[in-house]
Each structure stands twice: as structure tokens, then as C-alpha cells.
């Protein structure tokens, strides 16, 4: 196994763990937020956990699109201008 394959495998593993963690965090967040503990700080912590988890899920879902967008923009910058249309 080459280093590139190793890194790719690692990325897939990390990504699946991240999805799992998102679910866990989201659940914990809501659990903490909805728990019958009348302490405002605890509820706020639950709220922030939910927010972070959602943001993480958002960036994770957007990840491949972001990288694709970067390649698209830079390749279109580097491409020479198309020839003028012929009449």
C-alpha cells in the first residue's frame, strides 16, 4: 500500500468517524438541551453542541463540492482564452 492510498483510506475512516461523531454530538446536544436541569449554562452548552455539530455536518457535506469548486475556478483561470467565434 502506497502512502497515497494510506492517506485516502485514513481520510475515509476519519470521515466516517466524523459522521458518527456528528450524530453523537447532535444527540448529546439535544439531550443536554432538553434535560430537566434548570441551569441556564448547561442548556447553552447543549445548544452550542448542536450548533457545532450542524456546522460540522454542513462543511462535511460541502467538502467535496468546495474542492471541486477550487479546482474548477483555478483551472478556468489557467486556461487560455477561447478563440473568438468565427462568423
Amino acid at each position: 500500500m502506497g502512502i497515497a492510498e494510506f492517506i485516502q483510506g485514513l481520510t475515509v475512516q476519519v470521515m466516517s468517524i466524523a459522521w458518527l461523531l456528528f450524530l453523537i454530538t447532535w444527540v448529546i446536544g439535544w439531550a443536554v438541551r432538553g434535560s430537566p436541569i434548570p441551569i441556564h449554562r448547561v442548556k447553552r452548552t447543549g445548544q452550542s453542541l448542536v450548533e457545532d455539530a450542524v456546522l460540522a455536518a454542513f462543511w462535511m457535506a460541502l467538502g467535496s463540492s468546495i474542492f471541486a469548486l477550487i479546482s474548477y475556478i483555478t483551472s478556468s483561470i489557467y486556461q487560455p482564452m477561447p478563440p473568438p467565434p468565427q462568423p
Binding site: 497515497a4 481520510t11 462543511w59
Partner: protein, 452 residues
């Protein structure tokens, strides 16, 4: 591993960095400082991906800037080579000067010259560093940039600063090194110009018939008089000799009287001097006719009307004033003369041997009784031999106009050299490194991207 492979690996690392960032963000740990690392890693992954994608643009940017500034790497390399040649010439000249002065009353100058030599060798070392750096940048620029991007993409900012520096250096130094000549020319002291060219005069010694004289012994005298020659130099087998060019210490302007030593005799030349105005000179010896181990010596004003030289025959028709009869036939000891005829009459030579600078020479004075109206037809039949190099120690010209002037000239030259060959390139390389570091800051962390 090609650059494309390195960039692919870097892209994988960038994606890994991004995913790790997301993972940290998704962790159920409610610490803002810890979460901030997640955001940072996401931003790092994106900036690394941008850099990977613009790799070709980075490389093209260097060439574009070079083209816009109208400089090129080949011209920089030729500039470097010219500077190395100047330094090597100065090094040789100084080394020679110290060895030449050792046995003279001016031996005390050798101590400051040795210091100058140290500086020249230091300048050579600094030039070596520039050679190394510039060849590294020009040959491995793409690899350096790719390696920089790879280091840049490693998660947790492990190689971020060094990677950004490598990327920045591959642009700045690629454009900056060919600009070095312009920078140094701007600040170069003017007195370096006059020392730039090392004077070199190439000369050729020919006989009365414009045939080359092998291994001529060149004596140079001062025009102000003086018995002692300033220098004694042996020409090569083709009769050519070189003065200057790092071997002699010549004044900026000079005129030396010349004398040629050949086969035990000393001849004046035409022209009778060499001067700093000409770079090539042909010195003719009008009293000498030479052919393969045999020489006919005649008075200077006697003209050669006709001649045959070669195939074991030397035949000349000489015309001069009435009654001239002082000719000398000189030959190497191993040259056999079979017959000498003067005006078609056989002349019997009485040969007198002598040794001159390790060469055995035999001479015969030709004093014919009857010189028909100032015209002599001399024919010599002989077996030709090659001429041998005289065993003389060369004494190169070390012309000292005045000791203080020489010392001052060398001190100012030394300062100019230290300034131009060590200080200015050093400043410029430092300048390039600082600019690379500044550009690396732009790539590597100066700009913060806020995603939340």
C-alpha cells in the same frame, strides 16, 4: 516521484486536513478553544487545495515576471562566469606577485597581499554559494515549489511555515537571482572597472624572412635605461610568447624595449619595443635568417634579395654596402653542414663550438675576400635538425613603479572587491531571503480566514 505525484499526495493531505478539521468540529467537547482548531484546519485544507490548484500559475508567474523584467538565466550565468574569471585572474596575479616578491627587497608587501588573497578566496567562496543557490533554484524550482506545497498540506500545520517559505522562495529567488547583476552594477564602485581587464599581450618572433623563430629568449628592458632586464620570457616552439594575463605585474601604461636571445646571440627587433597599446605584436629580427637548426647572421642593413629555404638547402642572395663581409653561420652541434658556397666558390668553415644556456652551438665566421659589388650569394647544404629549448629560468615582469602606489592601489582594489564580491551579493541574497519570508507570510498565515 514526479511533481504530479507530489501534488496528488498534497491534495490527499489537504482533504485529510479538512476532514480532521470537520471531525474536531463535530466532537462533543464544549470547549471553544478546541473547536477553533477545527475551523483552522478546515481553512488550512482549503488554502492548501487552492495552492495545489494554482501550482502551474505559480510556476508561470516566475517566467512571466522574468520576461517582463527583461532578464534571463543564461545572461546571469554568463555574468557569474565573467566574475569568476576576474576573481581567478586576480587570485593568480596576487599569488604570483607574492612568490615573485619573496626574494626581493619588497618582500614586506607580501604580508598585506596575503590578507588580500584571503579576501579573494573568501569572495570565491561567496561566489560558490551563489552558484550553488542559483543552480538549486533554477534547476529544482518546480520540485521546490511542489515540495513546499506538500509540506504546506500536512495536517496540524506541521510544515506550514517551511512549506510556505519554499513556495515563496521558488518565485522570489527564481526572479531575483537573474536581477542580481543589475543590483550590483547599481552600487559597484567605479574603480573596479579599471582593474577589470587583465592586460595580456601576445607576441610572435620572426626572422628576417618572416619565418617563425622557435623558443626565442625574450628580454624586456625599461625605456629609462638600466642594464638589468625587467623580465626574461621564453617563447614557445612557434615563436609566440605572452606577457600579462595574470603571469606578470604590468603597469597600466608601459613601453618596454625588447631584445631576442637566439643561438648564443642577442638581436635587436623591429619594432624595438612593445607597449600597452597593442594586444598582439610581431617582432621581426632583421639580422637573423633561421632554418631548422641553422642560422645565418647578417648585418642589419644588408637586404635579402632572393632566397631558397628548405630541403636541406639554405640559399640567400644578400646585397649591402660594398665591402660587407661580416656574416656568421651558426648551427646546433648535431646539425651537419656538408657544403658552404659563397658566390659559387666553396668556402671552408672553421667551426668554433660554445655552449649557450644548455645548447651546444657551433659557429663559423664567413669573411670572404671578394665581395662582388656588395652582393653575396651564400648557399649552405645541411641536414636539418630541430631546435631545443634553452635551459633558462624565466623571470616574469614585476614592474613596480612605486611601492606606495602599488600598495594603495591594491588596498583600494581589495576594498572594492570585498564590497562588490562579498558585501553586495550577501546583501542581495539576504534581501531575497527576506522577501521570500514576507511572501511566505502571505501564503502561510498572515491572512486569517473566518468561516464561522
Amino acid at each position: 516521484m514526479t511533481n504530479a505525484d507530489v501534488l496528488l499526495l498534497a491534495m490527499d493531505l489537504a482533504i485529510l486536513t479538512y476532514v480532521i478539521g470537520v471531525l474536531i468540529m463535530a466532537l462533543p467537547i464544549p470547549y471553544a478553544g478546541f473547536k477553533r482548531w477545527g475551523v483552522r484546519l478546515i481553512a488550512d485544507g482549503i488554502s492548501a487545495a487552492v495552492l495545489i490548484s494554482i501550482f502551474s500559475i505559480i510556476i508561470t508567474l516566475g517566467d512571466l515576471l522574468l520576461g517582463n523584467l527583461n532578464v534571463s538565466w543564461p545572461s546571469f550565468h554568463s555574468w557569474l562566469a565573467a566574475r569568476t574569471a576576474v576573481l581567478v585572474a586576480v587570485f593568480t596575479a596576487l599569488t604570483y606577485l607574492t612568490s615573485a616578491l619573496k626574494a626581493t627587497p619588497y618582500a614586506f608587501i607580501t604580508s598585506p597581499i596575503n590578507i588580500a588573497l584571503t579576501y579573494v578566496s573568501l569572495a570565491l567562496s561567496s561566489l560558490k554559494v551563489i552558484y550553488f543557490l542559483s543552480s538549486l533554484v533554477s534547476n529544482l524550482r518546480n520540485e521546490l515549489a511542489a515540495l513546499g506545497i506538500l509540506l504546506y498540506s500536512i495536517p496540524f500545520r506541521v510544515g506550514r511555515s517551511v512549506g510556505a517559505f519554499l513556495i515563496a522562495a521558488s518565485i522570489v529567488m527564481y526572479v531575483g537571482f537573474p536581477l542580481m547583476p543589475a543590483f550590483i552594477a547599481q552600487f559597484q564602485p567605479s574603480n573596479l572597472e579599471q582593474f577589470r581587464g587583465v592586460m595580456r599581450i601576445q607576441g610572435k618572433v620572426v626572422d628576417s624572412l618572416y619565418h617563425r623563430v622557435p623558443y626565442p629568449l625574450m628580454y624586456f628592458y625599461s625605456t629609462e635605461g638600466g642594464e638589468e632586464p625587467l623580465g626574461v620570457i621564453i617563447g614557445d616552439r612557434n615563436g609566440t610568447f605572452t606577457i600579462g594575463g595574470g603571469k606578470d605585474i604590468l603597469p597600466r601604461e608601459f613601453k618596454f624595449l625588447t631584445e631576442v636571445g637566439f643561438m648564443g646571440y642577442y638581436f635587436s627587433t623591429e619594432p624595438s619595443y612593445i607597449s600597452s597599446n597593442e594586444s598582439t605584436v610581431v617582432l621581426r629580427v632583421p639580422s637573423l635568417i633561421y632554418s631548422s637548426g641553422l642560422a645565418l647572421l647578417k648585418p642589419r642593413d644588408v637586404r635579402v634579395e632572393d632566397y631558397i629555404v628548405g630541403n636541406g638547402i639554405l640559399s640567400v642572395v644578400l646585397t649591402g654596402n660594398e665591402g660587407f663581409n661580416d656574416l656568421v653561420l651558426a648551427k646546433l652541434a648535431n646539425t651537419t653542414v656538408t657544403k658552404v658556397t659563397i658566390n659559387d666558390e666553396v668556402f671552408s668553415c672553421s667551426w668554433n663550438p660554445f655552449e649557450w644556456n644548455g645548447i651546444d652551438i657551433v659557429v663559423c665566421e664567413i669573411k670572404p675576400n671578394d665581395v662582388g659589388a656588395g652582393k653575396l650569394n651564400v648557399t649552405v647544404k645541411y641536414t636539418p635538425t630541430g631546435y631545443v629549448k634553452p635551459a633558462v629560468d624565466e623571470r616574469r615582469i614585476t614592474y613596480i613603479e612605486s611601492v606606495s602606489e602599488l600598495l594603495l592601489a591594491y588596498i583600494s582594489l581589495g576594498i572594492a572587491y570585498v564590497y562588490t564580491f562579498i558585501f553586495l551579493p550577501g546583501v542581495y541574497v539576504t534581501f531575497l531571503v527576506m522577501m521570500s519570508a514576507a511572501l511566505a507570510r502571505v501564503f502561510g498565515g498572515g491572512a486569517r480566514i473566518r468561516l464561522i
